[in-house]
Symmetry: C2
């Protein structure tokens, strides 16, 4: 570690590693679930596995505008998986479509993350004003990505209860 640039790259690579690890673990979990298992609840009276698949997909889709990466791919998922609790009577997209959306949004995000310079990682996210960012410069893209990896971990802790 001889240059400052290298040090910044190390912080960035830790952020990317944290994100990749969370996505890899969650994807392995969902891939190991049959469609029948997606319909099970993680615990009696709690969310179904498919709700958490849709929820994580929708939350990651919301990262596109938040990180300044363009328009959302799946805005229709919010009404089913973010703004309302799990409702077994609701008509969901096909499980195949949901699984594909999960893969697509994560690949899309990961490709963008891998292309960023340290400076780009530290740009403010779009939900914070220039004024607030000047006062709270930790409200940046790096922070968003670490936070969302933690959100995946949070729900993974719940998902494994169903499998164990």
């Amino acid at each position: 570690m001889t240059t400052t640039t290298t040090q910044q790259d190390l912080f960035v690579s830790t952020g990317l590693h944290t994100w990749n690890q969370a996505i890899t673990r969650a994807t392995a979990f969902f891939d190991a679930c049959t469609d029948e298992e997606l319909e099970k609840t993680i615990s009696p009276g709690k969310n179904r596995v498919v709700y958490l698949l849709g929820h994580l997909t929708a939350v990651h889709d919301r990262m596109l505008p938040l990180l300044g990466l363009g328009d959302r791919l799946y805005p229709h998922l919010d009404a089913l998986f973010v703004t309302t609790p799990d409702n077994p009577a609701a008509t969901l997209p096909s499980y195949r479509d949901l699984r594909n959306s999960w893969m697509t949004i994560n690949q899309h995000l990961t490709d963008a993350l891998k292309s960023w310079t340290p400076e780009e990682w530290l740009q403010k996210h779009t939900a914070v004003s220039d004024e607030d960012y000047a006062k709270e410069p930790h409200r940046n893209r790096f922070s968003v990505v670490i936070n969302r990896a933690g959100h995946v971990q949070y729900h993974l802790g719940q998902l494994v209860l169903f499998k164990k």
Copy 2:
């Protein structure tokens, strides 16, 4: 953001913020639990809340030698909360002692984290050899802290199932 040093400080402050947020949320959860609630399981047949309190405390205690911060404070917790699954027949420390240990170890760690320069955050953790660190420089203290914050999130996702 005018200097490179400032940029490094931003990565560091995100790491510290992530750690603090996880500790604050978990502490608020445990503080809101009565001793009777600590004995409840998070879900039928799964870990008791007190097991997760002891588990998180022990795992954080293990961070002391891993981060080069000296000897452990509570090595006796491992046999109860890390190397064996939850056993309601085991004799545990008093809940008061466990709650105090959780507060003490986190304060101890947080004080150290707050004192580190960016260079100190990027030092290798002690479980990686010099040779491996040369090849995999992301195996550093920053990575350990982010990882353990994610571990707290993972178990928080489970703990809230009991409260909801």
